[in-house]
Amino acid sequence: MDFLSIKFFLFFFSSIVVIYLSPVRYRIRVAFPVLNAFFILTYINAPSQLWPLVVFLAAGFAGVRLVETWANRGIFLTALSVILITFVYLKKYTFISFAHFIQWPYLSVGLSYILFRMVQMLIDVYQKSIQERISPVSFFNFCCNFLTFVSGPIQRYQDYKIQEASLGQKALKDTEAFDCFVRMIHGLFKVVILSTMCLNYHKYLIVSLQGSIVNASSLWLCRKFILASSFYTLYLFFNFSGYMDIVISFGRLLGFQLPENFNRPFASRSFLELWSRWHITLADWFKFYVFNPFLSLLAFRWPNREAVPYLGVLAYFLTFFIMGLWHGSSWMFLIYGLFLGAGVSVNKLFDVLMRKYFSVSYNKMIDHSLSGLLGAAFTFMYFSMGLSCFWLDFNGLAQLMGKFKIQGFLVIFVLGGLIGAVVMFLMGLVRDVFDRALVKSAVLLGNFYFVRAWLSFELLMVIAFWFYGFGEIPDFVYKGF
């Protein structure tokens, strides 16, 4: 079911009625799983399309149950392997292209996020962080919660259980309900209007790039590539964060306090900092369940204090490489993984060397307005260059590599970063003016009717633009991951 359809909004308001009106004892055990199942069924045209998901969930639940019963290393590793192999097979990863894949169309939306949930459950059950016996209904509700089914945010089972208990229980105040609608409509504005505009301009630029790549000068192509990649990043941000706004506000209306996935990511002054602000729950999951264990293993193996920072660099590289791979099954995502891994590990290595030879950390260095601005601009540029793996295919990348060579990409990085710094500086000035205007308008902004009239006008714009952009409004990007 498309989040931008009338069907979804009708479904959602119906689910509010169902949840709040259903008796408490049936709410979590009957009403919620029925809603979750119904949501999944809207994605399929035939029952056969559901089998792979059912098998995947069954494998996960069986693994969790086995580990609950016999918490030994062998069973845990076997269960984990089965889940991972099933996932890789269902996602049809390129590096197992020799395998006999399922030929009929099947539902693969949400599999990546279900993987995170199942692996987290398995690890925490094995390590006894989850003491309770997980029922099939709880397992299904957690893995297939319709709010987070498509693309998160990624929650831990323990956090989910705390909130599940408050499903439909919390009596929302008028102001709280209104705040949810404010966020929802802002989210719609981002997805329908802002992300569409950014994507359209990005598409216009890549057509221009495609047609000119043979004859145009390298500098001209560099500038086009900088713009194309920057607008793709903006499109991705508005699209993803807009959907998160919609999902999180819906969750709040139902009583769920879903975690945030974005925190002003373009204010990040380093590539490492970016991952504490962009797709936060994904980065946290990888920190908990990949980076931390891997680094612990390395630190145990090589307890030499001098080696520790370099072990950290290695751990960062591996963690982000795997994160990049998770995004897709083609070779381009292998390149994306390498790009992410290189970015964080070089960032960390730079920090390590700065501390060692100059006794100043990277964070200290970028703690000034100018260096911070440059840090943010170059972080944005590097991230945008990496994201070109999402919109370029292998041939396109090869063509650009042939044209630019390594030095061309360095020019793109430097030029893009400098241009980005100027743009961010100007935007900062605009934001200051806007903030001052907001302060002066405090009385108006506090007026009950004005605020609601403005919000409904915003909603009208969203609906009008939805009609205007029919066929062009992008789907939720992360649904494809």
Binding site: D174, A177, V207, S212, N215, R223, S456, L460, I463, F467
Partner: protein, 360 residues
């Protein structure tokens, strides 16, 4: 739960008030009067300003068709027909005709057929009094599955025309064609109810074209719009055409020519008449474009075919206006305003001279 629905109710109620406000506003400033479609002012029947600078409004066409007119001229083709064949110029020489420019940027033969299908479905009885003026050129004869075009005008496997028809729910898809969801006489009423959204639609189109103009100026200023000059620019333009038209092997083949011939026959069989206008292109394109040369080579396939079809007339505008300079064109295919006036006058003169053969 009560608070949730109360807040939702307040917001939706205020939304309703905004809707009524804009509905009132559109009637205040844009009374419901039909205006002749003219590319200059780009006026359409759904509103006083056309929604689409590239043409392609099935809604607009649907409303225009719902109005009675004994004789009609419907212009079909690509953006060079949209900009180059001016209804107001035709109107002065053909005052007894209602004229509509339904050309859509980036059209191929399939797109031309889309317009015919909607006209046939919406007002079959008026086909006998209709002349289709098809403004074609070499760029009309590309395959439906060309990926370069896919980026430009196909979104989610829909053409611009289809998107527009489905956009407001006034049409529904049936067998890869558009079918009205309402009775034709209800179209104007449906459009009246949609006025607030059409109003904003026009504003978004204007903003978009100013936005595009701004970026074009920005690119020009910063030297990004044309990284090359002269011969280099021409080669780059030809390369872009290659992306738009696809592999030359599959271009302007007998298949596309026959498809166009079938379209001509369908138009005639439906009761209408047809004027085919072969629109000119710059001299340098004629000399350098392999696609143009292939089209010229295979063009006799349909020209010979139409000789046997009644009520079809053909004019090669390039031959009718010999020796015109390349400055008649603002780029590799689109005419300047002055050239468009000249083209339109020539076409209008031709239609007047051929009225007898066209059944008028």
């Amino acid at each position: 739960m009560k608070n949730i629905f109360r807040q939702a109710g307040i917001i939706l109620g205020l939304l309703g008030l905004w809707y009524l406000f804009f509905l009132f506003l559109t009637y205040l400033f844009y009374p419901d009067s039909g205006v002749v479609d003219d590319n200059q002012a780009h006026r359409g029947y759904t509103f006083t300003k056309s929604i689409y600078p590239d043409g392609g409004s099935s809604v607009d066409l649907g409303v225009w068709l719902s109005k009675n007119a004994p004789h009609r001229i419907i212009i079909i083709g690509s953006s060079n027909a949209q900009g180059g064949i001016r209804p107001t110029v035709l109107q002065t020489l053909l005052p007894d005709f209602a004229i509509y420019n339904g050309a859509i940027g980036g059209s191929n033969v399939t797109q031309l057929r889309e317009i015919l299908d909607v006209v046939r479905m919406s007002s079959p009885q008026s086909m006998k009094g209709t002349i289709f003026v098809a403004g074609i050129f070499y760029g009309t004869f590309f395959n439906d599955n060309v990926s370069g075009q896919h980026v430009l005008w196909k979104n989610k496997d829909l053409t611009i025309f289809q998107s527009d028809g489905l956009r407001y729910g006034l049409y529904k898809p049936k067998d890869n064609k558009l079918e009205l969801t309402l009775e034709p006489h209800l179209m104007p009423w449906a459009v009246r109810l949609l006025r607030p959204f059409l109003f904003w639609h026009c504003i978004f189109v204007d903003v978009r074209s100013h936005y595009v103009d701004f970026w074009d100026s920005f690119h020009s200023m910063t030297g990004m719009h044309e990284g090359m000059q002269g011969e280099e620019l021409k080669q780059s333009v030809l390369a872009q055409w290659k992306v738009s038209l696809g592999d030359i092997k599959g271009f302007a083949q007998a298949q596309q020519m026959n498809s166009f011939l079938e379209l001509c026959q369908e138009i005639i069989q439906s009761g209408a008449s047809l004027v085919i206008v072969d629109l000119p292109v710059p001299q340098w394109v004629r000399e350098k474009s392999a696609y143009y040369k292939k089209y010229i080579l295979n063009r006799p396939l349909y020209i010979n075919g139409i000789k046997n079809i009644p009520r079809v007339r053909y004019i090669d505008l390039g031959t009718s206006l010999p020796g015109r300079p390349d400055s008649d064109f603002s780029d590799s295919v689109h005419p300047t305003k002055e050239a468009a006036e000249m083209w339109s006058k020539t076409i209008a003169d031709f239609v007047v001279s051929q009225r007898r053969y066209l059944g008028f």
